[in-house]
Amino acid sequence: MALAIETIELTKEYAVGFWRKRPHRALDGLTLQVEAGEVFGFLGPNGAGKTTTLKLLMQLVFPTSGEARILGRPPGDLDAKRRLGYLPENPYFYDYLTAEELLTYFAGLFGLEPAERRRRVSMLLDDVGLGSERKLQLRKFSKGMLQRVGIAQALLNEPDLVILDEPMSGLDPLGRHDVRSLILRLRDRGCTVFFSSHVLSDAEALCSRVAILAKGRLVASGRLSDMLAFGVRGWELVVANVSDTVIAKYKPRISRAQQIGGGRFALELPADATPDRLLAELIADGGALVSLNPLRETLENFFVEHVRQRQ
C-alpha cells in the first residue's frame, strides 16, 4: 500500500525562556505511517504535539532531527503541495476579503483557469453551507463560519491528501455533522484524510486507524479494532421485581449492583460471567428481565488509560 504520510524519528525542539533559552521538546521521535485512502485520527490531549507534527508536515516549522515524507516527497515540495489540502487550527484569513475573494485568490495560487476557478469556488461555498454569505467580508464571520471557509480552501485543488488540524473546533452540532459527512465523502472518493483532534467520538466515528500522542511521544497507534479489542469487558444486566435480599444472594457473582428506582437493579457482571445462567436464576426468584447489554472498551477508556500512564 502506498504511503500518504511517513515520519521517521521526527523530533522538534523549541527554544523557550526569555533570557536563558533552553530547549523544549515538543515532539519526540515520532515514527508514523499513514496509508493512502484511509481516514487517520491523530489524537492527544492539549499540548501533546499534534499541531507541531502537522506544522512539520506542512513545513511551517523545520525538524530538529528525523524526517517526514508527504505523498512520497519531502515537506514543502511544490508537486506534493499541489495534491495537498491543509486546514490550520483556528484558521484566520484576511479580514478585508470576502469568502469568495479568498477562495478565488487561493484557487489562483493553484493555477486554476478562470472558468474552473469560478466553478470550484461556487461549489465549495455551497458545500460548506456558505453559499449565501459568499459576498460577506470575512471580518463579519463567526468562528464556525471561518472554520467552514478553512475547510473549503483546503479542498480547492481536489486534493489526494487532506490534513486537518482540529476540524470540528468552533462548529455547532450541525456543523460537526456536516464535516463528518464531508470527511466520509472524501474517503469514498479515495482521498486520504489525516486529522488531529482531542474529541474522541469524532475519531471513533470516522477513523480506520488512529495514533495517540502524549507529551510529544507516540503512546499507541493502530487499527481501532485492534486497539480497543472490541471484545466484551463485562455485562450490564437490568432486572425488575427483585428485592435487596435476592440481590445479596448473588453478590459474589456480580461486580457492582445499583438500585435505579422502580424496583429495578442495574448489575454489572465480569467478562467471564455467564449472564444467561444468572438471568435464569433471577427469573426463578421472581425477577423480570429489563435489558442485557455487553460492556465494550471505548476509545475514551483506552485514551485515558494510555495518556495517564504517559503523564
Binding site: 506542512m58 516549522v61 491543509y86 484558521p91 493555477g111
Partner: protein
Amino acid sequence: MKALGWIAINGFREAVRDKVMYSLVAFAVLLIGASYIIGELTAGQDLKIVKDLGLSAIAVFGLFMAIFIGIGLVSKEVERRSIYALLAKPIRRSHLVLGKYAGLVLTLLVNVAVMTAALYLVLAYLGAREADFVRQGREASPVDPALLKAVWLTLVQLMVVTATAVFFSTFSTPILSAVFTFLLYLAGFFSADLRNFDQVVDARSVQMLARGLYYVLPNLGSFDVTAQVVHGLPVTWRYMATATAYGFSYIAILLIMSATIFSRRDFK
C-alpha cells in the same frame, strides 16, 4: 510567476482597503492643494514653493506608507496566522516575500501617481492665473515635466525603504521593524558624509567602520533631486539611470536576504 502575481494583487488589495492609506493620501493631496496658500505669501516664488512643498509631501507621505504598510505586509501574515493556509499552497516562501513586495510597490506607484496628479493640477491652476510678465521671467514652466524626474527618484527611494521594511519584518516584530527602518532611513541621508569621515577622524578603526557603513547603508540622498528640479537645474538622464540602477541593486540584495531569512524561519 502566476502565483507571484496573485500574491502581489492581493497585497495591493489589502493596502487599498486599509482606511489608514486613504487618510494618508487624502491628507497629502490636501497639503499639496493648500500649498498654494503658502505660495501666495511669497513674492514671485509661489510656483517654486508649491513644487518644493508638493515634492516633499510626496516623499514624506510616501515614506509613511512605505514603512507602515511595508512592515505589516509580511509580519501581519505571521502574527495573524494567515500564513499557515497560504504556505500550504504550491508557492515558495520567497514567492511570498517577492509578491508582497511587488504588491506594495504597486500601491506606492498608484499613491505617488495620485499625489503627483494633485501637484500638477495645483501647478496648472497657478500657471493659468499668472500675469504675463511673471510668465516671461520664470526659469521653468509651471507644469514642468522635469518634476517627474524627482518623482521617479522619490519612488525608487520609497522602494528602497519598503525593501528595508520588508527585510526587517521577516525576522522582527512590527514595532521594531518600523524603528529599524526609520533609523536606517535617517542614516541613509547621512551616508555620503561617512565617505569622507577619514578627513575628520584620525583613528583607523573608526575610519574603517565609517567606510564599512558607507558601503552598507543606502545612500538615500542620491535620490533627492528636488532642489535641482525646482530651480530648473538640469538632472541628466545618465544620473537618473545610475541612481535607478543603484536603487534597484540595493533592493535586489535586500529582497534576496529577506527571502533567505524567511525561507528558514519557523512559524510557531
